[in-house]
C-alpha cells in the first residue's frame, strides 16, 4: 500500500483527531454556504466566472502579451519563467542585485510549487513566511496542509509549543496573545527587509494591474516597506478586464472561508516612487495542460480551497495525505501531470461524489477529470488478468449466469469463503445476507 491509501491509513488511526479536523473544515464549508446563500445571483456568478476563465484560456497567449505590454508601460518589470528552476534563479538573481540575504514572503502556492524556500535557503538566504499560518508551518519544518488555511491541521498546543521553541517565550495557547507576539516578531522583519515576495491572485490584461488578497495585510506590510516587490504568478491567473474583478472578488473569499471579501484586496498598477516591482510569469507545465482537452479546465482554478473544505476524503485524511503541493480534489487532477507515478493514487482517493465540482466557483469539472485520469493512468498499461476475466464474465450472459450461481452457492454455504473472496471490502463491513436465489433465478421461476 503506497501513496494516499497508506498516508490516509496513518491519519485515520487517531479517530478523535480525524473528527476534529473533519468538523473544523465542515464548519468552514457551512460558513461558505451561508455566505453564498446571501448572494442573489450566486449560480449566475459562477457561470459567468467559468465562461470568463474559459475564454481566457482560449486566448491565453494574447492576453499574456497584452498584460506584459501594459504592465511594462506602467514601470513593472516582467520576467518569464519556463519552469520552477527558472523561476527560482530569477528570484535569486534579483535578490543578489539588492545584495540582501533575507526576504519576507506572503502566501504564494506557486512559490511552494517551485520549492523556492528550500532553493533560497540553500543559497544562504533567510526566507521569512509572514502569513501567520505559513510562519507556524515553516517553523515546524512542514508544508502547508491546505492552500488557504496552511495550519488547519495544527492544534493550539502544537502552535504554542513551537512559539516557545522558536521565540523562547513561556508556553501559551491563547490565540490573541500568540497573534500579538507574532505581530511584533514579524514587524521587525517588515521594517528591515528590502525585498518582499508575494503571490498574485489576479492579473488584468487590459490594464497591466495585479491584485493580491489577504486578511492579515502581511503582503502589503512586506511590499510597501521594501524597495523591491517580487510577485510570482502562474500564467493562468490572467483575466481580461478590470470589471471582471467584480465577479471574481465576489466569489473568492465566500468560497474560501465564507467571508464576503478578504480584509485587503490590493491593486498594484505602478511601483511607488523609487521602488521596483518585478512580476514573474511562470509556466511550469501549465501550457502542457492547456493542450490536454480533457484536463485544461483545471487551469481555471482561482485557488480558493472550497473543494478541499467540502471533500469528505480531504476532511477525514488531511492535506498531507496527498503528498502534493496542492492537495485535495484540485490537487488530485493537477499533480498527476507532473508525476503520474508519484501521484497515481490521487485520482483514486475519491468516491467521485461530485461535491467539489458543485462547489467550485469557476465550475471546474473536477469529478469528471478524476474519472478521466483513472483511464489515462491505465491507458498505456497492460490489462491485469483479473480485469480481463471480469470483463468476460460481464459481457456474456452464459458466463454471467454461471458466475452468479456459483457465488450464490458459496455465499450461502460458505459465507467465510465469500468474505475472503471480497476482502478488503469485508474487513470492517458485513457482507449482505445471502439471498435464497438471484433475481434472475426468481424471475425464471415466476414468469
Amino acid at each position: 500500500m503506497t501513496g494516499h491509501p497508506q498516508k490516509a491509513s496513518i491519519f485515520l488511526e487517531n479517530e478523535s483527531y480525524v473528527d476534529w479536523h473533519d468538523e473544523t473544515l465542515w464548519w468552514i464549508r457551512e460558513k461558505r454556504d451561508k455566505a453564498s446563500g446571501k448572494v442573489q445571483d450566486w449560480e449566475q456568478l459562477r457561470e459567468t466566472a467559468s465562461k470568463i476563465k474559459e475564454h481566457t484560456l482560449d486566448n491565453l497567449g494574447q492576453y499574456l502579451l497584452d498584460f506584459e505590454k501594459n504592465a511594462t508601460d506602467n514601470g513593472i518589470k516582467i520576467h518569464w519563467a519556463e519552469d520552477a528552476e527558472d523561476h527560482n534563479s530569477i528570484v535569486y538573481d534579483l535578490l543578489k542585485q539588492k545584495k540582501t540575504n533575507c526576504v519576507v514572503k506572503s502566501k504564494s502556492m506557486l512559490t511552494e510549487e517551485c520549492g523556492l524556500n528550500n532553493y533560497l535557503e540553500d543559497q544562504g538566504i533567510e526566507v521569512v513566511d509572514t502569513d501567520l499560518g505559513e510562519r507556524i508551518v515553516q517553523w515546524l519544518e512542514q508544508t502547508p496542509s491546505h492552500i488557504v488555511l496552511p495550519a488547519i491541521h495544527l492544534k493550539k498546543k502544537d502552535i504554542g509549543e513551537i512559539f516557545t521553541k522558536k521565540l523562547g517565550i513561556p508556553f501559551l495557547e491563547d490565540a490573541d496573545k500568540l497573534t500579538q507576539i507574532a505581530r511584533n516578531h514579524l514587524r521587525d522583519y517588515f521594517l528591515s527587509t528590502p525585498v518582499a515576495i508575494t503571490g498574485v491572485n489576479f492579473a488584468i490584461a487590459e490594464s497591466g494591474t495585479f491584485v493580491i488578497c489577504t486578511n492579515e495585510g502581511n503582503a502589503d506590510m512586506g511590499v510597501h516597506l521594501a524597495d523591491m516587490h517580487i510577485a510570482s504568478m502562474g500564467i493562468e491567473k490572467i483575466i481580461p478586464k478590470t470589471e471582471h474583478l467584480g465577479v471574481f472578488l465576489r466569489l473568492l473569499a465566500r468560497s474560501a472561508t465564507g467571508q464576503s471579501i478578504t480584509s485587503y484586496s490590493s491593486h498594484f498598477r505602478k511601483p511607488a516612487k523609487d521602488k521596483e516591482i518585478h512580476l514573474i510569469l511562470v509556466d511550469n507545465g501549465r501550457s502542457d495542460i492547456l493542450h490536454k482537452e480533457k484536463f485544461r479546465n483545471a487551469l481555471k482554478c482561482i485557488r480558493c480551497g472550497a473543494c478541499m473544505n467540502t471533500c469528505p476524503v480531504f476532511r477525514k485524511t488531511g492535506g498531507h495525505s496527498y503528498q502534493s503541493t496542492i492537495p485535495g480534489p484540485i490537487g488530485a487532477i493537477l499533480s498527476p501531470h507532473y508525476n503520474p507515478m508519484k501521484y497515481g493514487s490521487l485520482p483514486f482517493a475519491s468516491t467521485l461524489c461530485g461535491s467539489c465540482s458543485a462547489i467550485c466557483p469557476v465550475k471546474i469539472d473536477i469529478d469528471d477529470q478524476l474519472y478521466h485520469w483513472r483511464q489515462e493512468l491505465n491507458r498505456k498499461k497492460s490489462t491485469p488478468i483479473s480485469i480481463s476475466v471480469v470483463a468476460k464474465f460481464l459481457s456474456k450472459s452464459g458466463w454471467f449466469d454461471l458466475g452468479s450461481k456459483f457465488f450464490t452457492t458459496i455465499h450461502k454455504l460458505m459465507p467465510n469463503v465469500a468474505e475472503r473472496i471480497l476482502k478488503p471490502y469485508s474487513h470492517n463491513r458485513k457482507l449482505p445476507e445471502p439471498p435464497e436465489k438471484s433475481f434472475k433465478a426468481w424471475y425464471k421461476e415466476n414468469s
Binding site: 499560518g133 490594464s207 502589503d220 464576503s260 480584509s263
Partner: protein, 187 residues
Amino acid sequence: MNRLGAKKAGEIQTLPVIEFHPQEISIKRFKKSVTDVGGLVIDSTEMLNWNEWLGKKFGTQIKVYSTSEVYPGNFILHTETLPKTTEQLNSIDVAIIHGKLGVVENGAVWVENVKHRAIPFIAEHLILILGKNDIVPTMHEAYEILTKSEMPEFGVFISGPSKTADIEQSLVYGAQGPKSLTIILHE
C-alpha cells in the same frame, strides 16, 4: 509562447456580459456589513468632540496622522528619506484617511492616493472617512465607477481590521495590520 497561442478544437468561448440583478443601496445594510467584519461605523453627526472621542477610544499620548481638516491629526509625515520614513510610519497609532467609495455587500471601502502606501496597513488603528453618497450596492457598481478613469497607481479595498484565524480557527483582529477599523460616515 507559441504553445500558448494554440486554441482548442471546436467552439471558442466568447466573453460573457456582466449582468446581475440590480440591488438597492442601503446605508443600514452597509453598516451591518462593516460590523460583521469587525469594523465600526460612526455617523459624523454623532462625532461631537473629535479630540475627546480620539482620546477615549485610543488613549491620549498617541500619534495621529490625518489627511482630513475636519478630523485633524497631530503629526506630519516626512517622506524624504528612508529609513526615517519607516520609523515614522511605525510610530503611527491612528491614521485617518479618506475612502473613495464603500460597498454594501461586504463593507469594503476603496482607498487610493495615499501619501505612503504603508499607511493604511502599518497604523495601529485605521479610520476611514466616507460619504454616504459614495456607497454602492455590490463590487460590480464599484468597478463601474473605478474604471471610469485610469486605475490609480495603487488602490485597495479595505474591509474591517486586519485579521487571522490561523490558530485553531479562533478569530483575532490586528494580525499584522490595524487592530481596529472605524468608518466616519458623512452626508
